[in-house]
């Protein structure tokens, strides 16, 4: 198998070309060039699929990777050597990720051509979406942290632009600013971490970092009293926290839903927000070395549970999905933290499919009904059967119902978390991770079904609200007035992407068996491909592996039969693995999560279908208020931290600068000078006067002044001068 430039680069380049063409000539193309974007992503998908096929069907050993580099720029001069390399790193994980990103992106692009039809920002949307996709694909292909950061930021820019695409809305501006700045907080730390690693390791290639870790070379001077490994790990995780919207930096993601729904589906649900998880997974050996995995797990748990609680009280359909995204990202981070490496990555993939599908379904609803407040929806099942079907599949998946993908991945994470929290001999306080994780899982099932029930079941409330005359403005800028709900017909662009995505919510695609756990292997061990292909990087194998120049042909790896690995692999990469206990934990976790998921669904059913239990909001108004205020994070960040703290400091400094420093110190020096100048002038005048009395003359300046006064042209002044001169003459007469 041979990979050259031509077989990898088009994955990244074809969306770039589409971006460039659309950016410059999009307005002149028919349909603003959206077909070009779709086509370019399809090309990426084809090339990705080919690579995935190669890896999947055992062309390479399971631990095989391709690493190709070229020099971007070179600062070497004289005795100094410094080169910045760019390159491609392909392994099992990135081949899966590439397929997922390009596939989901393709379907979302296709859906967008329908959704954004007749939207005035159609052209802009199809400029930024291919750019975003190319950046995400580039990020996955990157072989080093530096180029990862590059694409990371470009994605942030696309996110900024797409959130703010309806720029005439004040809220869109706020949301885009908030999104960019919040992620930027993490980004600068990520950059700092990259710089630190670069200067100590001498490179930021994954391969070199792994090798350095394996050889114990990964230690630099401690920074701010923190050991170097912990510092860099924290920095990189800070970047991940920003991008994946983890607990203290989570505030941007819910607001990011100001953008068009397909954009949210791609960027803020399926791909970009998982970039943080991606970098955490790539740098997993560093996280272990820096001993911050427990921290990651705790942050993930807090995010997972906290976001789920907020999602329970949201009424906007997109807000529910946004908070569920936050919550699911929390699960991924739990997965990273507790060492559930491949389950965390599997959750990235499964989540991408079902969350993209959920968002697209929500977009379909909004596009059809022009309403996104759930209390004003209801009974849409008969109008939108396909959307209902797709959305139901995804809801089942995200709720963790067996046979669906969410169960497979989340359950493994929770099983590992259970082991991590209770059996791995960790700090007992870390038991909070599985507790919050399971609680969050129950809440997830509850709020997702609440959403389903409120939207698709019960009676239709759309017309009630229209009577009241306060039409909610949806993200199309249309008012909800006067729209009839049309019955949905199977449409190539609007429904087919949903249905395709819905197909991938089935668990057996990922688990290789029907239920997901090892209750019964339908296809035999070989089909547990995910476990086999994805494993935490074994850093030892990267020592002494050569790099390849970008244009070279790679050598074929040794084929190792996948099932040879299977029996020894649990997929657990966390501390103190004990296969037996781990298995116990997984069994307990599986049953527990099934029970919790079903009880969540059941409660939702009682509340919103049977209406035999009062909804939560009526029972606990205090808690509901707190949840609706989103724990006051926005208030705390914006009103207190930024407006009072940062801006106050800024105003104070600016005042200090211009009002005090410049006015008094700098201009004060000028004033001192002026005093000195006056003093010397006075001295001059005295001296000059003395000289003048002696008849030696006056300064030009004084002379000027006198002449100017004397030659005023005023006749009366001449009289005065006449008399004074006469008088002075007389006074000098010696009589």
């Amino acid at each position: 198998m041979q990979y050259t430039v031509g077989s990898i680069a088009p994955i990244f380049l074809s969306p770039v070309i589409a971006f460039v063409i659309n950016a410059f000539f999009g307005r002149k193309l028919p349909r603003n060039g959206d077909w070009l974007a779709v086509l370019s992503i399809f090309i990426s998908f084809v090339f990705s699929a080919r690579i995935f096929g190669d890896f999947f069907f055992g062309q390479f050993a399971t631990d095989y990777y391709i690493h190709k580099t070229f020099t971007w720029f070179d600062l070497s001069a004289g005795t100094h050597v410094f080169k910045v390399d760019m390159g491609i790193y392909l392994d099992n994980m990135s081949s899966i990720m590439l397929l997922m990103v390009s596939g989901v992106a393709f379907l979302i692009h296709l859906f967008s051509t329908w959704y954004m039809d007749h939207d005035e920002r159609h052209g802009r949307f199809f400029v930024f979406l291919p750019l975003f996709t190319s950046a995400m694909l580039g990020l996955v292909l990157s072989d080093n942290l530096f180029s990862l950061f590059l694409f990371w930021e470009i994605m942030g820019f696309c996110s900024y632009s797409l959130i703010g695409i309806y720029y005439e809305k004040e809220k869109a501006g706020d949301a885009s600013l908030k999104a960019f700045m919040t992620t930027r907080v993490g980004d600068v730390f990520l950059l700092l971490g990259i710089v630190a690693i670069w200067m100590v390791v001498g490179s930021v290639n994954y391969v070199d970092i792994y090798a350095a870790i394996a050889q114990g070379k990964f230690d630099g001077p401690a920074v701010l009293g923190i050991s170097f490994a912990t510092f860099t790990a924290l920095c990189i995780f800070a970047g991940a926290m920003g991008k994946s919207a983890q607990f203290p930096l989570h505030v941007w993601l819910p607001d990011a839903m100001m953008g068009p729904t397909p954009g949210s589906a791609l960027i803020h649900a399926a791909t970009m927000v998982t970039a943080g998880v991606w970098v955490s997974l790539r740098m997993y050996p560093l996280m272990v070395l820096g001993d911050i995995t427990w921290f990651i797990a705790v942050i993930g748990a807090i995010t997972a549970f906290g976001a789920a609680t907020i999602a329970m009280v949201q009424t906007d359909i997109k807000a529910v999905l946004a908070y569920s995204t936050l919550s699911q990202l929390g699960y991924m981070m739990i997965g990273v933290g507790v060492g559930s490496y491949n389950a965390a990555f599997m959750h990235v993939i499964t989540h991408a499919f079902f969350k993209a599908c959920l968002f697209l379904s929500a977009g379909s609803i909004i596009h059809s009904v022009h309403e996104q407040e759930m209390p004003k929806l209801g009974g849409l099942k008969k109008y939108l059967p396909y959307t209902h079907f797709a959305m139901m599949c995804c809801t089942l998946a995200i709720a963790g119902i067996p046979f669906f993908s969410g169960f497979v991945s989340k359950d493994r994470i929770l099983g590992d978390a259970l082991y991590f929290g209770f059996m791995a001999g960790q700090n007992p306080l870390l038991a909070i991770v599985p507790i919050l994780g399971f609680a969050g899982a129950g809440l997830t099932a509850f709020y997702m079904f609440r959403m389903m029930f409120l939207t698709f079941y019960g009676e239709n409330r759309t017309h009630d609200s229209h009577g009241h005359g306060h039409g909610h403005k949806d993200d199309h800028g249309h008012h909800g007035h006067g729209h009839e709900i049309h019955h949905e017909h199977l449409d190539f662009r609007s429904n087919v992407p949903l249905l395709i995505l819905a197909v991938f919510t089935l668990g057996f695609w990922f688990a290789g068996n029907v239920v997901g756990q090892n209750f019964g292997n339908v296809f035999g061990g070989k089909n547990e491909w995910f476990k086999i292909l994805v494993e935490a990087p074994k850093v030892e194998k990267f020592v002494d592996r050569p790099k390849q120049a970008f244009s070279s042909v790679d050598t074929k790896g040794e084929i190792v039969l996948p099932h040879a690995h299977y029996h020894h692999q649990s997929g657990y990469a966390g501390p103190n693995p004990d296969e037996h206990k781990l298995h116990t934990a997984h069994v307990i976790g599986a049953w527990l999560s099934i029970f919790i998921a079903f009880s969540g669904v059941f409660i939702a059913f009682l509340m919103y279908i049977k209406k035999s239990v009062k909804p939560l909001a009526e029972k606990f108004p205090g808690i509901t208020e707190m949840l609706k205020a989103k724990y006051n994070f926005d208030h705390f960040y914006i009103d207190i931290l930024i407006k009072k703290g940062l801006l106050g400091l800024n105003r104070f400094l600016a005042w200090l600068d211009m009002g005090i420093y410049d006015r008094y110190v700098i201009d004060g020096m000028a004033a001192v000078n002026r005093v000195l100048f006056k003093a010397s002038k006075w001295f001059d005048n005295v001296v000059i006067d003395a000289i003048g009395v002696d008849g030696t003359g006056v300064t030009v300046n004084l002379f000027n002044l006198v002449l100017r006064i004397v030659q005023s042209g005023k006749i009366q002044f001449y009289f005065i001068m006449l008399v004074m001169v006469l008088a002075s003459y007389i006074w000098t007469l010696n009589i």
Binding site: G713, K714, I715, Q716, F719, I720, V723
Partner: protein
């Protein structure tokens, strides 16, 4: 007996008053009045010295000539004032800033 000093003092007062008028007043006619006062002060001095310091009447002759010159000066000066007024619509001294027009 009236002394020379008393005439000189009166002449001085006249002269100073004329000076003040010339300096302080802004009306051209008033300035001419001041000039008349000064000329008269001078003439008075001549006559007083002529009586107290000499035996001849040259001082008288001088004061007569002063009167003549004053008359000529007044005639020309007032003509200029009238002309000035025709052009500027004012006889304010500070408006007289140009020699032509």
């Amino acid at each position: 007996m009236v002394s020379l000093a008393s005439y000189l003092i009166i002449s001085l007062i006249l002269f100073v008053v004329g000076l003040v008028v010339m300096i302080a007043r802004k009306n051209i006619v008033a300035i001419l009045l001041g000039i008349e006062l000064i000329l008269n002060a001078a003439a008075l001095n001549f006559v007083a010295y002529s009586r107290y310091a000499t035996n001849n009447l040259d001082g008288h002759i001088f004061s007569l000539f002063i009167i003549v010159v004053a008359a000529a000066e007044a005639a020309v000066g007032l003509a200029i004032v009238i002309r000035f007024f025709q052009i500027k619509e004012t006889i304010h001294i500070d408006e007289a800033t140009q020699l032509r027009n």
